[in-house]
Amino acid sequence: MKQKKHRYIFSKTVLALTMVFFYLPIIYTVIFSFNDSKSLSKFSGFSLQWYEKMFNNSDLMDAVFYTIMIAVLATIISTIAGTFTAIGLSRSNKVLRAVMEQINDLPVMNPDIVTAIGLLMFFSSLAIKKGFVTLLLSHIMFCIPFVILSIMPKLRSLDPNILDAALDLGCTPAQALIKVIVPQISSGILSGALIAFTMSFDDFVISYFVTGNGVNNISIMIYTMTKRVNPTINAVSTLIIAIITIVLVAANIAPAIKGKKDTAADNG
């Protein structure tokens, strides 16, 4: 009995300390973004001055715009491309599939900095002007592998007869694809899109190397702003935390609502 109680206290303590460790920096950032002084330790009063500074900083606002633009475009493009590729991959011969899976793993397994310098030299050699285009191409490049990786398991567990049945019953291949395959793997596509969005939205290392000519994302701005104590960073950080939290909540709630509707429809 006594031992059980000890174990209970031990596990509660471990969990509590873990949560404090993980969430303290995040909560700290949010709280001090509303501080009315420059201090990092004393909360002297509520103010929105750092948010005002953030909205008045046009470089920062450009970076927010670029970050969201790139993330949305990279997510849409890499999700569509990744879905196509994954379906093609599941139908291709063994050798080609093995080779492609190896290549696909490269950006996932390589340290970001290695991927980044490869792309930097590649773009520079082709004399492509560093900026929005190089940033977008790079983000698409590192997002697609994650989309493929999250769709492949769904495709593997798909019954191949379903597709044959659809085709036998007179579906064109395109119809079979959209009406039969895609709905079956939709959860994989959705989680792939979610990973792509957050990867792109949060990326620093690769963006930092491949961009130029004044096109920055939020991470790069933070990195260059950290040289001095600057609570505006806390405001930007809070904005990022809010956006990611909203995306995550939406992504988790959407399937739940859909699931409820489906069961409701089934019951009705």
Partner: protein
């Protein structure tokens, strides 16, 4: 049916251009002389020589490996109990706990690392708490400790989740069998639980060591300008001095270190799991 196969081909072309060629360029630049033209490529090992002959770079290399090893060991020692505790919770609480640990990893690493500056600063949270007890202020920021803390903070979720995965897959009847056969709690843990969770630790090591050895913004944000790691040297070669060949060579040295680390991890895994099976 067969038509679907052609959906792969655009990506074959894309990945060759965007993934394979950039990787090959690193290798080519590392092994050739500066100022090559396409028709005249000169092989050289100079880039590697100038790296290994410079004591400053060797020091950076040693420091990077040291920090990455310490980070990995700390992630195992601190992450294991957490994963263990989570695996013993009720199934519903397990889901919540895993979610709580995953959530912060979705938030920008740079943001979360920067937050530690406020906490560790001379006038920051920790020092003001210590001040209440009349201690300090202690210099925490811009030390090796701060860098390791930042790395453990950023990478330990991967370790916890990997160990948790292998622990939660474990068949509880093994533990009952061990208890029935007279093993005490400690013996059961070291002879049954630990060996069975080893695959989780091994994949955790890969997920922690790799980003730790190549990280360059954590040392810059928390270690100050003086605290150089190998990632910072690569950054300087490409963004400050423009020595691509030298920078490529250093990143290849780093890649070799990562491969060696993975090989060692797999070797230990093999050795220990064979031994665990025999005893």
């Amino acid at each position: 049916m067969r038509g679907f196969r052609s959906m792969l081909y655009p990506y074959v072309v894309w990945s060759f251009i965007m993934i394979v060629i950039p990787m090959l360029m690193i290798v080519v630049y590392a092994f050739t002389k500066e100022g090559n033209s396409v028709t005249n490529i000169l092989f050289t090992l100079d880039n590697f020589k100038s790296f290994f002959n410079d004591t400053v770079f060797i020091e950076v290399l040693e420091r990077s490996i040291f920090i990455a090893v310490i980070t990995t060991v700390l992630c195992i020692l601190l992450g294991y109990p957490v994963a263990y505790v989570i695996a013993k919770l009720k199934p519903a609480s397990q889901v919540t706990a895993v979610l709580m640990i995953t959530l912060p990893t979705w938030i920008n690493m740079l943001v979360r690392t920067y937050a530690w500056r406020g906490i560790l600063d001379k006038n920051g949270l920790i020092n003001s708490i210590l001040g209440l007890f009349g201690i300090g202020p202690i210099k925490i920021l811009e030390t090796g400790f701060a860098v390791i803390l930042g790395m453990v903070y950023n990478f330990i979720p991967f370790m916890i989740l990997q160990i948790y995965n292998s622990l939660s897959k474990m068949d509880p009847s093994y533990l009952e069998a061990a208890a029935d056969l007279g093993a005490n709690k400690a013996k059961t843990f070291f002879k049954v639980t630990l060996p069975l969770s080893l695959p989780g630790i091994i994949s955790g090591i890969t997920l922690v060591f790799l980003p730790a050895v190549s990280s360059f913004f954590i040392p810059k944000l928390l270690g100050g300008g003086q605290y150089m790691l190998i990632g910072n040297v690569i950054e300087n070669q490409f963004l400050t001095t423009g020595k691509w060949g030298f920078g490529s060579a250093i990143s290849m040295v780093m890649a070799v270190i990562i491969l060696i680390a993975m090989y060692i991890a797999r070797y230990i895994d093999k050795k220990l799991s064979v031994k665990g099976g025999l005893d």
